[in-house]
Symmetry: C2
Subunit: 200 residues, 2 copies
């Protein structure tokens, strides 16, 4: 295709569009909510972004929901290079940080400036978990697999012998973003333990 | 789970969260951009929602991009009941409208009010294609499979003997939402014809 100078930005954006398609092939640990197959990062990102809208009233007053949505749309892009990390594997989580930073360097730089820096900023904000938007986004990211495992009679928890106290550490992260969703997640954990789907 | 009255809204929202998970199992006609498998509606919705951010500067000035993103996150939910329609099959497209309306009646009503009506309003706005936001959202929805088919040596076009003039009708819809993306799509069609991947 003939590239006129004024088309450079568009062509860079299309290269980004093609690159991020790979997120559809990054497979997560948890299954879909009907237990039919494992979930991929792209469909997970869609799900939690829409949950930000559906569960908006459980964010602290004044939370910028469109910013939460934008953050959730980009939050897993680095996994195109770095892969999905099992959050109950502390060694893997520690090794992941460098790989994700290198991935962010590569992937967001596909976009022209200032767009690349802006989208990378959303990812960094999500990771830093300081703003109410990032805390609420992370809460949704943690809630979704807990809901899936609860619906799937323990799912990944049983498969990998995860204990209730480990899940409750994730529930604390949910509580920091949304007290009401945190209370709900705590109740899901209680029920899963009661039913024998999650070890104490 | 004990349901206190004040928890009714949350429980309705969680029922919606579980219901929409089914969108991950609605399979579209086109393949992923690396041709490895067919795409599902949920990961497609993520892709075009993020493209709304990446390609924002190609929308008319003043377009509310967060609204475009929200629209694209819900635009295919009705396909949980109504299924994906092949846009090059005019009989199927006509029969689809009633099925999609019935699906919207059911799915958005899972949410408490006024949320259910608000999200349904986004879907109707997308379908009506009157606002700049809806036109830009529809342009992205049409651009993504054209880009995938272009990258996949004709993909769905070859498989279903689609002709260039049929694809150019979709390009007109892209042009109505974004002249620059329309021109880009027109160039993709020209290249695909030139390479023998799309019949004249």
């Amino acid at each position: 295709m003939r590239i006129a100078p004024e088309q450079d930005r568009l062509h860079a954006q299309i290269a980004f569009a093609v690159e991020i398609d790979k997120l559809k092939r990054v497979i997560r640990r948890n299954n879909l909510m009907d237990d039919s197959r494992r979930e991929n990062d792209a469909e997970h990102s869609w799900h939690v972004a829409l949950l930000a809208m559906a569960l908006a009233e459980h964010a602290p007053p004044g939370t910028d929901i469109p910013r939460v949505v934008a953050m959730l749309l980009v939050h897993d892009l680095v996994e195109i290079d770095a892969g999905d990390t099992f959050i109950y594997d502390p060694l893997a989580v520690a090794a992941q940080a460098d790989a994700e930073r290198a991935a962010a360097d590569r992937i967001f730089a596909l976009l022209p400036e200032p767009q690349g820096s802006q989208l990378r900023g959303l990812w960094e904000e999500f990771e830093d978990r300081v703003t109410p938007e990032a805390r609420f986004a992370k809460a949704l990211d943690r809630l979704a697999p807990i809901l899936a495992n609860h619906l799937n009679d323990g799912g990944t928890w049983r498969l990998h012998s995860v204990k209730a106290h480990q899940v409750l550490e994730k529930v604390e992260i949910i509580e920091q973003g949304s007290p009401s969703l945190g209370a709900y997640a705590r109740e899901l954990v209680r029920l899963s333990v009661m039913r024998g789907h999650l070890a104490e």
